[in-house]
């Protein structure tokens, strides 16, 4: 078989495509240019320190270092895979050899950005299941063929299942698996449209225009022309409205396009063990996560989205994340609340959503106000005394904190449903956090002197994620906190007895 051939030629390691070097170089040059722009902002553009002889020689040294290190990194990088392990060799000046047992591999993420795709190249990110962040394996710029080979090797082991179109046929041979893979959700054009219209991308668009303008203005004197353009639109009401309409249209187009490219083709499939997420139009990303690694769910809803009942569902998990794939823990980017409620138990059967939640006592407002006294009283007063010019900032801060605390004491709620804990925070923008008893890493119940007088307690839940996720719920009734505590204690007891009985049987 192919695998055996690979094993025999152990010395022949898989490598990244040579184009990788070019991309890395472009990336580092891009970073360098931004760094220069940043420097010129800090030191003022008039100072030509970068362009002095000293500066130029530094730049040349830097470029040489970059080229050499990229060359070495490419030269030293290699990988091979057989039935037992994945072998990686990497390093710039010091090379590192590492063997990852395939049994430990937890997941796989395929990320294909636009340009590499033109050359038929893709990037695989393999979650080796260790807790060290540096241990995630990144196979950059390998051919689709190689990527598929690795994926099939892993899927043969039952570690990873393939969801890509070209590999569907392979799976079909395996009739057992095809029945278990189920498609749950595919994003609709309408959802993208609504989400992009209601998000704050409009503001982003304006800041984008402004930042482009100020960047360009650094190099060319376009002040006068821009002034002329603004003058043109301001000269009559008709032109002004036209101008504003054009601007709004452009920003809508920008928003829709951006959202479409980011979340277009977003779909969620799953089999009994894993969830697969695909997304992106230009830069595609494939992501899979084992179901039992999902520690908690968080369901968030922003200000405008709340009126439209649109929520964003995020998974909190202990599996690997990489800077490039930040958004991949989003299960549903924007979905109608009811649909989410229907789909979540379907996708992750281990999670249930409780409708009936109890609100925290209103007396909590006293504790909440005292807890944030520095935010709504001390800080604004200080600001007002020392910088009277910022009186508006002080007022905004004062009213915002006060209102948010008031609303949070009126609308925060909690629930305990079988082995699930559910917490809802905030009123204008809400955050719902759901986790199950055996996923909680530890539980803390605290009580301050004032809380004691009012019969309240705070609970803190620590979930396993990178970094550890701490969810605090302030001011639940004390009885409830005690119930949570004993509920958790009993859960641990049950867990251990079940394990013990399993071992004896």
């Amino acid at each position: 078989m192919k695998n055996n051939a690979m094993k025999d030629n152990r010395t022949e390691l898989g490598k990244s495509h040579p184009l990788w070097m070019l991309f890395e170089l472009v990336k580092s040059i891009k970073g360098f240019i931004f760094f220069c722009i940043f420097l010129s902002f800090v030191f003022g553009f008039s100072s030509t320190s970068i362009f002095s002889a000293y500066g130029i020689s530094l730049i040349i040294l830097f470029v040489i270092y970059q080229i050499v290190s990229i060359l070495l990194e490419w030269k030293h990088f290699g990988y091979s895979i057989d039935e037992e392990e994945l072998f990686i060799k990497k390093g710039r000046f010091v090379t590192l050899h590492r063997h990852f047992p395939l049994a430990n591999i937890q997941g796989l993420h395929q990320n294909t950005t636009f340009f590499p795709r033109l050359f038929g190249l893709t990037t695989l990110l393999i979650d080796a299941g260790s807790s060290d962040k540096n241990d995630s394996i990144k196979l950059e710029m390998i051919s689709f063929q190689e990527a598929n080979h690795i994926k099939t090797t892993l899927s043969d082991l039952g570690k990873v299942y393939i969801t890509e179109e070209e590999n569907r046929k392979d799976i079909e041979k395996n009739s057992q698996e095809i029945t278990s893979i189920k498609k749950h959700y595919e994003i609709k054009r309408r959802e993208i449209l609504i989400a992009s219209l209601t998000s704050l991308r409009l503001l982003f668009f304006l800041t984008l225009i402004y930042s482009v303008y100020s960047e360009v203005n650094q190099f060319f004197q376009i002040d006068a022309y821009v002034g002329d353009i603004i003058g043109f639109f301001q000269s009559s009401w008709f032109r002004l409205t036209m101008g504003i309409i054009i601007l709004i249209c452009l920003s809508i187009v920008y928003g829709v396009l951006k959202t479409y490219l980011q979340y277009g083709e977003f779909n969620v499939t799953s089999d009994p063990y894993r969830i697969y997420i695909e997304k992106g139009k230009l830069n595609t990303a494939h992501f899979s996560i084992p179901k039992d690694r999902i520690q908690a769910l968080s369901i968030n809803s922003g200000f405008i989205h709340k009126f439209l009942n649109i929520v964003k569902v995020k998974m909190i998990s202990s599996s690997d994340t990489d800077e490039d794939v930040k958004a991949s823990h989003i299960l549903f980017p924007f979905i109608h609340k009811n649909k989410a409620k229907k789909l979540i138990p379907e996708v992750i059967s281990a999670f249930e959503i409780e409708e009936d939640m109890t609100k925290i006592p209103t007396s909590s407002i006293i504790v909440k106000l005292l807890r944030t006294i520095y935010l709504w009283l001390f800080f604004p007063v200080m600001l007002y005394c020392f910088f009277p010019g910022f009186w508006y900032l002080a007022t905004i801060m004062f009213s915002l904190t006060l209102v948010s605390q008031l609303l949070s004491s009126l609308f925060s709620s909690y629930a305990l449903n079988g082995s699930f804990i559910q917490i809802k925070k905030g009123a204008i923008a809400t955050k719902v956090f759901i986790t199950s008893r055996d996923k909680i890493e530890r539980l803390m119940v605290t009580e301050t002197i004032l809380q004691k007088k009012l019969g309240l307690s705070s609970i803190k839940i620590i979930s396993r994620a990178r970094p550890a996720k701490v969810t605090t719920m302030h001011d639940v009734p004390k009885d409830m906190a005690i119930r949570y505590y004993s509920w958790y204690y009993e859960g641990i007891e049950n867990h251990t007895t079940i394990l013990a009985s399993k071992q004896t049987s």
């Binding site: 009580e447 701490v470 505590y485 204690y489 641990i492 867990h495 251990t496």
Partner: protein
């Protein structure tokens, strides 16, 4: 009102002395630093307000040292409780002002250490460090022998639980 059951075990009464010594030491270092700045102030003729600020800092350090030396160690020692059973570790600290109860399941413990500095050693005490996701929890000032017993217990219990869990996972796959 119904209450969370207090963990039963207490920490050593000598903890008060240990905390007093270490706090006295840190306060002393703070004062030395302040004194050094005062000296610099006289030497370089710094503006007058710096002197005022330095004296204010010194006063605060003295005041907090008084509280920290006399009241806090006693309060901390009296309120610290812990309990370890075969399933979990329960910790409780703080009393009237701010009380914290914590519960750590055995199978979520990643490592356990005992630690002993020179002052702890003098009183034959150890601190137990329990490593969990994102944080290391401590049980301060436990008698040496008890500490190493507890450490071995936790290591054994958490290790067993982990092995069981991995076995279970292995069977499922």
């Amino acid at each position: 009102m119904y209450k969370i059951k207090e963990p039963t075990q207490r920490i050593s009464p000598d903890a008060i002395k240990v905390w007093r010594i270490t706090d006295a030491f840190t306060s002393f270092i703070f004062l030395v630093v302040v004194a050094f700045f005062l000296y610099l102030h006289h030497y370089y003729d710094w503006p007058h307000w710096i002197e005022i600020a330095l004296y204010a800092v010194a006063a605060i350090v003295c005041l907090s040292a008084m509280i920290e030396l006399i009241v806090i160690p006693v309060y901390k020692q009296k309120t610290w409780r812990y309990e370890i059973d075969s399933n979990c570790i329960q910790l409780k600290h703080g009393g009237a002002i701010r009380k914290t109860h914590m519960i750590i399941p055995m199978n979520k413990v990643y490592f356990v250490d005992t630690y002993q500095g020179p002052i702890l050693k003098k009183y034959h005490l150890s601190t137990i460090k329990i490593g969990t996701v994102g944080y290391v929890h401590e049980i301060p000032s436990v008698p040496e022998n008890t500490a190493s017993e507890i450490r071995n217990d936790i290591a054994y219990l958490s290790g067993i639980n982990k092995r069981k869990t991995s076995k279970e996972e292995g069977n499922e796959k």
